[in-house]
């Protein structure tokens, strides 16, 4: 038995799950800062990204070490490759949360459209759910659960498309218009987090089946 190697692999996977938890915290923080226009919390979210980044680099270093010294094959190889990709997806999700936090600080302090703000709360909750689901599917090697992410993502995509209509109906107040433009980017960030969660699901599917495929065809 290659005990040391498999322990290292287990640790790498545990570390990735912890990174997933960090991303959930940073997402929750970003959406809360947005809804409450909490600039202090927004700063905390921005600073918290360093935590995610250090975890990201530690995992990458662990992968480098395993590839250089252990030559993983079969399931082990697929797991290492899945961890490599999921690590990057999680890091990107955290970056989108930082962008949301920065937009909270940039957006003018106006009473925005409450419908839109409520919508972001929903989108944030949905994105959280997707990340939890993706990481759970990864932990359980559950193909069906991974594939179920596509439907959830469709809900976020629809919400994102509705944001444009809302922003166009905000009226002619320049401050409100600026707020609306910033919020379109927020919406886009949440939507992209959902996409990355689907990508994590695709990596789970690869890990389980050994086949490279996208769940949905983006060109359709």
């Amino acid at each position: 038995m290659r005990v040391g190697f498999h322990e290292a692999l287990d640790q790498l996977e545990a570390s990735l799950q912890e990174e997933g938890s960090l991303v959930l915290r940073v997402l929750r923080g970003a959406v809360t800062a947005l809804v409450g226009h909490d600039l202090e919390l927004a700063d905390e979210v921005i600073a918290f990204d360093d935590e995610v980044d250090s975890r990201y680099f530690a995992i990458e270093e662990g992968i480098q070490d395993l590839l250089a010294r252990q030559t993983p094959v079969a399931t082990d190889l697929r797991l290492v490759l899945a961890v490599l990709h999921i690590n990057l997806h999680l890091e990107r999700m955290a970056d989108y949360c930082v962008t949301i936090a920065k937009l909270v600080k940039l957006a003018p302090d106006v009473a925005g459209d409450p419908t839109l703000v409520e919508g972001f709360q929903d989108m944030g909750a949905r994105a959280e759910e997707m990340i939890e689901l993706a990481m759970d599917a990864f932990a359980k090697r559950d193909l069906a659960e991974a594939e179920s992410l596509v439907e959830l993502d469709e809900l976020i995509d629809r919400a994102n498309r509705r944001v444009v209509q809302h922003v166009l109906s905000l009226g002619s107040d320049p401050k409100l218009q600026e707020w609306g433009l910033r919020m379109m980017i927020v919406s886009r960030c949440l939507e992209r987090i959902g996409d990355h969660a689907v990508d994590v699901g695709e990596r789970v599917a690869y890990l389980v089946t050994g086949e490279f495929r996208e769940f949905t065809d983006a060109s359709r």
């Binding site: 190697f5 094959v73 399931t75 697929r78 050994g210």
Partner: protein
């Protein structure tokens, strides 16, 4: 999908499967069982070896992989207690047919062993020995040179062909043994752990050589080194040991045979998975 259909570079149309679209089969093994003194060492093996491929046999000690490779040039004939059942067709001809001359078989199907075993003669004579025995005396110098070039040894020995082969390094001796096998123009080269006694640089040279040689020859290799199989082989067969505790018997079996990439990324059988990932034993 059969193993052959997944071979890289071979397109198989599923609506109209065509024999000619498949790679040429050199050996077709069916239900092969080898026993020593009545005890089966290897049981019920069926597989095809394809032309101009490197085919690797991997598996734990005692799985019968060396026993198996020795069947391809009838080396087991030399062991009185060995019996071989089942069939090995070589280009459709029964390799163990009564009219088949084992000496001719061993010319067409050469073998390189784990430990380099040059004769205590000159470098030249080592390579010239086989052709001389077969009466291939015309153009012997060219034949020796060509074999040494093919074995990537010529540049290192061209100025000292009359020196003893035993003066060469281990890696050079192994390439000399490969040259010796090539000098009689075989079609297949069997290699039983050809690099296990060599240092990493000599090992790399042998592996590079296999990649070159497969253009002209079909290569079958037994290796303990899984990564070597992953590096050099087009097809890989995983053998394992089946233990019958009631009869205190251990028999080698073929577990899985597939395209090497498949074996090392997504094997079909859990036993292969356990072995290649080191979860075995």
């Amino acid at each position: 999908m059969s193993a052959a259909e997944r071979i890289p570079g071979v397109e198989v149309r599923h609506d109209a499967p065509s024999e000619s679209a498949l790679r040429e089969v050199v050996f077709d093994v069916e239900g092969l069982t080898v026993a020593y003194g009545g005890k089966p060492a290897l049981s019920g093996v069926s597989l095809e070896v394809y032309k101009n491929f490197v085919t690797a046999f991997i598996g734990p000690s005692g799985c019968g992989k060396s026993t198996f490779i020795r069947c391809f040039n009838r080396m087991n004939d030399l062991i009185p207690s060995a019996t071989v059942d089942g069939t090995i067709l070589y280009h459709g001809e029964d390799l163990y047919g009564r009219e088949v001359d084992p000496v001719e078989v061993r010319r067409l199907i050469g073998m390189v062993f784990q430990k380099p075993n040059p004769f205590p003669k000159s470098i030249y004579d080592n390579v010239a020995f086989g052709p001389r025995v077969l009466g291939l005396k015309d153009g012997l110098d060219d034949r020796v040179r060509h074999a040494l070039e093919q074995a990537a040894l010529w540049d290192e020995v061209k100025s000292r062909l009359k020196e003893s082969a035993l003066s060469l390094s281990g890696g050079q001796q192994q390439r000399l043994c490969i040259a010796r096998a090539l000098a009689v123009e075989p079609e297949v080269i069997l290699m039983d752990e050809p690099a296990s006694a060599l240092d990493p640089i000599s090992t790399t040279r042998i592996e590079d050589l296999m990649d070159e040689l497969k253009r002209e020859y079909t290569i079958v290799i037994v290796t303990h080194n899984m990564q070597q199989a992953a590096r050099v082989a087009d097809m890989t067969a995983f053998f394992s040991v089946e233990v019958d505790e009631n009869r205190d018997a251990r028999t080698g079996i073929l577990v899985e045979y597939d395209v090497t990439t498949k074996i090392f990324t997504n094997p079909s059988d859990q036993r292969t998975e356990d072995y290649v990932t080191g979860r075995f034993g």
